[in-house]
């Protein structure tokens, strides 16, 4: 285990040094330092038939010291690489994404202006090295999501190994997924499918109504846009445990993007798609057609919503008959609904009628 980790660290160090040495060679050869990266927009993601997920296409954009912006990025990348090599990998330490942002305060003109900028820098390094941020000992800030249901797993922590049952050994909130999912081993389960839920309110409703026991379901709380560890967990449960995954969100454009990032990968991290996306995941609802069919109470679409929906119509991840019909329907009715809207039909409506009906329709139960 230890030597395996040492080997991984060595590999990461070599890769990072390679980037910096590339800049050095360019300078030494009297060339302006330049770095090519895949363009990270929705116009440059492609469907990979083999892995069935969306990954970056061939379009590349150049970061060159010819421009102030490019020169800054190259300088910041050199500083960041130095930190990762000399502080993290050589000293076997680590820091969080937020800490990286604060560490850079001492870097004078190379400091990051805001945290999204340092987060993007780590993503750039992942893309260039084909490694993951965990390999650089970078930790995410966000809590992993929680799991509730009949699932037994083994987690390796600093204090040794621990076996946990995700219903019997945990509180009402469920089992907290650690940021480094690969330290978790799934042992066994008695479930037929997984429901990944956007909001905490609906997650708690399903637990309170005993939906997991009644239907042999494992419930996963996504906590909004899901963290990498959550998406990785879903992918592993789907592949290793052979469990179908359905995603249950609000009915608005932002929620569809949550589903898309679970199923196909996020545009921002398409280089991680093959590692984190669950192509077999399916959208259960709330569908725009449910708003009509179940006569749910709604809010009006805002201008932002409408813009986001239109943008999804040209997003390759939503380029299917199903999504085009649903999005166009939503634009027609001009309404959106929350998961909690089902409460208007009674507290048991969602577990007694809506979900069983949809799951039957989808052929899962």
């Amino acid at each position: 285990m230890n030597t395996l980790r040492q080997q991984r660290d060595k590999l990461a160090k070599k890769a990072l040094l390679g980037i910096v040495d590339g800049f050095y060679q360019q300078l030494d050869d009297q060339n302006i330092p330049t770095l090519m990266l895949p363009t990270r927009t929705k116009n440059n993601i492609e469907y990979n038939d083999e892995s069935e997920v969306w990954v970056y296409g061939d379009k590349e954009s150049e970061r060159s010291a010819k421009t102030v912006k490019g020169a800054r990025q190259i300088l910041k990348m050199s500083y960041t690489a130095e930190l990762l090599i000399k502080e993290h990998l050589e000293n076997n330490r680590g820091s969080t994404l937020r800490e990286l942002y604060y560490i850079s305060e001492n870097w004078d003109i190379a400091k990051f202006n805001e945290q999204p900028e340092s987060d993007r820098m780590i993503e750039d390094l992942e893309i260039v090295t084909s490694l993951q941020r965990e390999d650089f000992h970078m930790r995410p800030e966000e809590d992993g999501a929680t799991i509730f249901g009949d699932l037994r797993l083994k987690e390796t922590t600093k204090r040794g190994e621990r076996i946990i049952h995700c219903r019997n050994d945990v509180g009402e909130g469920g089992y907290q997924i650690p940021f480094s999912v690969d330290n978790v081993e799934f042992l066994d389960h008695d479930a037929k499918f997984i429901v990944a839920i956007e909001t905490g309110g609906m997650y708690a409703r399903l637990i309170e109504n005993g939906f997991d026991e009644e239907h042999n379901a494992i419930l996963v709380h996504l906590k909004g846009q899901p963290a990498r560890s959550t998406r990785r967990t879903l992918k592993r449960l789907n592949e290793e445990m052979n469990l179908p995954v359905v995603v249950f969100t609000d009915s608005d454009p932002w929620s569809y993007r949550i589903f898309a990032s679970v199923a196909y990968g996020a545009i921002k991290s398409a280089h991680m798609s093959e590692y984190m996306a669950t192509p077999a995941a399916r959208f259960i609802g709330v569908q725009p057609s449910d708003i009509v069919e179940y006569d749910l109470s709604t809010d009006k679409l805002t201008d932002q919503d409408i813009k986001a929906l239109r943008s999804e119509l040209s997003d390759p991840r939503f380029d299917s008959e199903y999504w085009k019909t649903q999005i166009k329907l939503q634009l027609d009715i001009g309404k959106k609904a929350e998961q909690q809207a089902f409460a208007g039909k009674g507290l048991d409506f969602v577990t007694q009628r809506y979900l069983p009906e949809r799951l039957t329709e989808m052929g899962i139960i």
Partner: protein
């Protein structure tokens, strides 16, 4: 037998008083909505105050105070430091419509018809039933005169309700106080504050003070202590005179003969021109003017067009001037750039006019918004009907994209700019009585476009200079700050010696690179000099390598000049754009220390800023 029906009808037919007419049609004069009524009243009072001060050569100091009078009413007080009004004239000026001093004179002035302030008095009286209170003082040593007035709307005659002598602290001036149904608003273009701000921009010699209903005081201070050049009164110009006007003039003239009539009734007609006109009209110059028939009058109009007559004199116009529009914009806006222009005078239908324009750019102005358009006619801001005005139409006719300014939809341009246009004329052709918009007269539109294009050209030059300056600054930041830091950091990380970035600096700057490297060779060293031209120009240079060591096997051969202890080796080189040359020679028997402390290379014939890796000296290379 019944009387003819016309007799019956005649009993109902009677003259309509002008005051009665406006009582029923007050929107024509700009008294429709509550905010607009206040703005119109302020405008009429301030216009009068400015005109009065200028006629008396007094620097205007005007106070506008607006108080809440309860309900939907406000009290408007306007005070000036003008010459004041003699007692007998006060009632007529404030309470008789169409009474004034300027209607019959041909020169540039703000008010003209004598309707404005009396219409405000009428509006006040109609909406509140209260009289208007006037104080006027014409002499420092005399007491002020106070009176309360209303207009008798059926006779269009003033009625004085009360008058007396009062004490007033101003040495001279006029104060008018009226209550009216109106509303004080802020935060949009058509407001009292914006009107006064605009007025201050084109009347840089005036100090305007506004006291708002909440007691807040705003002062628009003056930018100059010089009064504008007063406009001169002129005679009508024959070009564009209408037949009816000419007949009226012929009938009532004191002149006995046609030729002198022409000469003394019109501008730009002298002895010679008058005779030519008579000849062209086939009329006897001695004809008595009242005897000229309708047919002959038509011939005269025709002759005016045939005979070459000079354009009307332009001293009847009083331009604000380029420098004062500049100062006006400068004091009311915080911007990066201002350009202004005063066009030469021109003529429309016999009326002299001139156009002035200004554009203020950048600073705190909104980047995304449509540009603000400030329209002025004879120094009066035009607040309403922007879309129907010749000034706006002229702005829309210009292709602003040619001047590096956005023009979404091809209409009013967008960007951080304010456009000022001033049209000055003895007769401004307004589209309506409320004087909100200039009519689309082709001559005026043409001049407005020429004026705007002139300031837009200056703005474009400024903007393109800014772009190249910012490119230059960007490059400097790269070569001075960022690249050295990158070189330092990457060599630290990979633990190798720091590379020389001179060649890359030359590449980024588009300069000439002169780069000397040395390598060990037998007992001595091999020197390589690389000359690379990254610029877009071909260069002819003299390269000087001056040191005390003998050289061998030089390729190509230099010209050698002995300088005593040192020797100057000179290569004359033609370096074409984006090409490179190399020079090589041997230095036998020199030590490592010696070769590493060779003096800098010197390039002759290129500006210092264009060279990296060598010193540059000026010099002519033939």
């Amino acid at each position: 037998m019944a009387a003819p029906i016309a007799v019956e009808l005649a009993k109902k037919q009677r003259a309509i008083s002008i005051a009665e007419f406006f009582e029923k049609n007050r929107q024509i004069l700009g008294f429709d909505s509550a905010p607009r009524s206040l703005l119109t009243a302020v405008k009429e009072a301030v216009d009068n105050a400015l005109d009065a001060c200028e006629e008396a050569s007094i620097l205007p100091d005007i106070l506008v105070s607006i108080e809440d009078a309860g309900g939907d009413n406000v009290t408007l007080i306007v005070e000036d430091n003008g010459p004041g009004i003699v007692n007998e004239q006060i009632p007529k000026i404030f309470a008789k419509l169409l009474y004034g001093s300027r209607f019959h004179s041909i020169k540039q002035s703000r008010g003209q018809q004598g309707i404005g302030i009396s219409a405000a008095v009428l509006y006040s009286q109609l909406t509140t039933g209260k009289p208007t209170r006037i104080i006027s003082k014409i002499d420092r040593d005399k007491p002020a005169h106070f009176c309360k007035l209303v207009i008798n709307t059926s006779t269009n005659e003033p009625e004085i309700l009360e008058e007396k002598e009062v004490e007033w602290d101003r040495p001279r001036g006029t104060r008018v106080e009226m209550e009216m149904k109106a509303a004080y608003i802020k935060g949009r273009r058509q407001s009292v504050v914006e009107y006064l701000k605009s007025t201050a921009i084109v009347n840089t010699h005036a100090r305007l003070t506004l006291v708002e209903p909440d007691g807040n005081t705003i002062v628009f201070d003056r930018a100059t202590d010089l009064l504008p050049e007063p406009a001169q009164e002129i005679l009508p110009h024959p070009e564009g005179i209408e037949l009816g006007t000419l007949i009226k003039m012929l009938r009532y003239t004191d002149r006995q003969k046609l030729a002198p009539f022409l000469r003394y009734s019109f501008s730009r007609i002298g002895l010679h021109t008058a005779e030519e006109i008579c000849k062209a009209a086939h009329l006897d110059p001695d004809t008595e003017p009242p005897n000229i028939s309708l047919e002959d009058a038509k011939k005269l109009i025709g002759a005016f067009k045939k005979v070459k007559i000079m354009a009307p004199p332009t001293d009847c116009l009083s331009p604000i001037t380029e420098s004062l529009i500049y100062k006006g914009l400068e004091k009311e806006y915080s911007v990066d750039f201002i350009a202004t222009v005063t066009r030469p005078a021109s003529v429309h239908s016999g009326h002299p006019f001139l156009v002035e324009a200004g554009i203020a750019y950048g600073g705190s102005l909104g980047k995304e918004d449509r540009v603000a358009i400030l329209r002025f006619a004879n120094r009066v801001p035009l607040m309403y009907q922007q879309g129907g005005c010749a000034i706006t139409h002229s702005i829309e006719n210009i292709r602003w994209k040619n001047y590096s300014i956005n023009q979404p939809g091809g209409s009013i341009p967008a960007g951080p700019a304010v456009i000022v246009v001033h049209v000055a004329s003895t007769h401004i052709p307004f589209t309506s009585e409320s004087k909100d918009a200039v009519a689309d007269v082709p001559e005026i539109m043409n001049e407005v476009e020429l004026a705007l294009k002139e300031v837009a050209r200056k703005l474009k030059m400024y903007l393109s200079k800014q772009v190249s300056l910012s490119k230059r600054r960007e490059k400097e930041e790269i070569i001075k700050k960022l690249l050295p830091r990158i070189a330092q950091k990457v060599s630290q990380v990979v633990e190798k010696p720091m590379p020389d970035i001179t060649p890359i600096v030359a590449k980024i700057m588009g300069n000439l690179l002169v780069y000397r490297t040395v390598s060990k060779n037998g007992d001595g060293y091999l020197v390589d000099i690389l000359i690379k031209n990254y610029s877009s120009a071909n260069m002819t240079i003299n390269l000087h390598d001056t040191h005390q060591y003998p050289i061998r096997d030089a390729k190509p051969d230099p010209k050698v000049i002995s300088l005593g202890k040192d020797t100057d080796y000179i290569w004359k080189l033609d370096v074409r754009s984006s090409s490179n040359l190399t020079i090589q020679y041997h230095l036998p028997f020199v030590s490592e220390d010696e070769v590493n402390s060779l003096p800098s290379l010197i390039v002759e014939g290129v500006d210092e800023a264009m060279v990296n890796g060598a010193k540059a000296i000026r010099g002519y290379v033939d």
